[in-house]
């Protein structure tokens, strides 16, 4: 795959320059819809961990001695459940206190277009 004779002349090398990439990506960034339409992941993390936390905490509260003996005498379900519940609540509270910032207006995206 590395036959030297297949190398193009230097003139053919510069078919694609940094300016092409910058122009292309800047154009795509203006049309991009991720910022406006993508949901906030904090809601999902918060929801999943509150649910997991509740389920595993209940499992811990109803565990028999065999489960606790297995875990070296620690009620590991209870502690892990409470830990996950707290993490879930943290994410939901963060989302509540600092909601998703509205996407920047389109005008701004146009301004940062490179001059050169």
């Amino acid at each position: 795959m590395s036959d030297n004779s297949e190398h193009p002349t230097p003139a053919e090398h510069s078919g694609y320059s940094e300016k092409d990439v910058q122009r292309e990506v800047t154009e795509l960034q203006e049309k991009s819809t991720t910022a406006a339409r993508l949901f906030d992941i904090r809601r999902i993390i918060g929801g999943l961990f509150v649910l997991y936390g509740v389920i595993v905490t209940i499992a811990g509260l109803t565990d028999d001695d065999a489960a606790i003996d297995k875990a070296e005498g620690v009620n590991i379900n209870l502690w892990t459940g409470l830990g996950m519940l707290l993490l879930g609540i943290f994410f939901l509270a963060w989302l509540k206190l600092r909601p998703t910032a509205p996407p920047p207006p389109v005008v701004e995206a146009g301004e940062e277009q490179p001059k050169g």
């Binding site: 694609y16 795509l28 819809t33 993508l38 999902i44 297995k70």
Partner: protein, 572 residues
Amino acid sequence: MQTPTISPTASLTSPTYLAAELRLPTNWLDYTLLGIYFVVVLGIGFAARRSVKTTLDFFLSGRSLPAWVTGLAFISANLAATEILGMAANSAQYGAYTVHWYWIGAIPAMVFLGLVMMPFYYGSKVRSVPEFLLLRFDRWAHLLSSVLFAFAAILIAGVNLYALAIVVEALLGWPQWVAIVVAGFFVLAYITLGGLSSAIYNEVLQFFVILAALIPITILALKKVGGWDGLTDKLTQSHGDNFVTAWGGTGIGEANPLGANWLTIVLGLGFVLSFGYWTTNFAEVQRALSAKNLSAAQRTPLIAAFPKIFIVFLVMIPGLAAAALVPGFGTEKSGYQYNDAIPYLMEGLLPNGVLGIAVTGLLAAFMAGMAANVSSFNTVFTTDIWAKYVVKDREDSYYVRFGRLITAIGVMASIGTAFLASSFSNIMSYLQTLFSFFNVPMFVVFIVGMFWKRASMKSGFWGLLAGTTAAMLNYFVLYKQDIISIPSDQGANFVSAIAGFVAGAVVMVAVSLFTSPKPADELQGLVYGTRSPGMAEPPAEGDDAWYRRPALLGWGAVVLAAACYIPFSFSF
């Protein structure tokens, strides 16, 4: 699919199947927790679908994500299950040397990526690592690196899939093909639907599930062996003094289980392998390129560095505990392989409930490890190979459709490559081997190209080719044919990496001296000390807060990692 060059190792080790007695006592509760996770994974894919309009949305999340999201995805993409099981295996086999993979083998490189390299990557607006090589060198360097990367990504995705199948078969009793089809289907579904956004969001979620799985295992394992003191006492008795130190026995000429001395650790692992992996592996860098601005992109690897410093305890302690609890752990007479360390503790310590979380965490990590490679593969294959050399200048929506198609093909191909992974007992050393072949030469080409203006257009291609060849020659000919004597696979990886680095650098300098340099005006923003015209962006609101300063975050991580070495560097 197995290549003859790799198969000789198969005779040295039995297959990587976990011990048959490791069947986990899962019940309906554990399967409920697992089921909920799969529903959420698909839900993320469907919900992210409406945000995909352009190729930039599909391949780079529209360059719009906040730094904490990309930072956690950055660490998660690395924290695949092969890393978790493999690093626990490393600890059971080599002891506390494992900390080197984290504190010297990751943190300096992650900080370098954030502080030094990210302005060039993000500022030049490239969409992939090979695209940067196209701008800095020429199409030959670009094509070679794209093809090598696409090849490596599929191989490593296959490793993850295979590892998942054998673990799931041993732990849950599912036939291998069921595990492969189920995991392959979910990864295929959520990446095809939501593109990189859904891969990244799932990685962030996975980060927390993994922590919820590993923290209880670590705490209970420590309790079982009698705390840290009990652990070190037991291991010192059974494995010798050096087993619980970071540097003991690593003097040049001294023998140690790792088969490496401090020089090969610092140069091979700490510099060449680690910089190669963290700074040029597109599966990692892609997460930073999807950040919303330069400051967020710089902070991506820096935010990831802090969890990375501490995660070593969550994999090393279970590995050490397994070695302390089972005499001869990892050898034939114990009935366990090194990779069994974490599953062994899950089976013995976790009651139903937390057990379900741990199983979910492992499966999530396998899928995320595969997804990170598939989502970077489809980007390189579409934007770097297909759109530049095969079908050029079509409308953007065509490439989004093609990206979805190639995602499906990539998943199918990784199922095929899964078989390659079967010939190494220590999964991690297989990955390290691959990285030394693919990432190290890339890193040479980058570092020379970024810091030496004179490096010519042609030097990129030849440096890459020479480096890859030298690393492979060292591993497969000199080491595997016993021409030079290196005591372990890991030690050989470090030497291959150094060989690849030196060969790549020498060839680049030699070729540059005889061929023409790239014109100076085409190097703006690509070489250290220059700036690209469109690069300056006004800082976003709030980014000047002290805790968001890249330099402070970066140096803070380096100092913290160095401080972590102190208790492991002197005898107790």
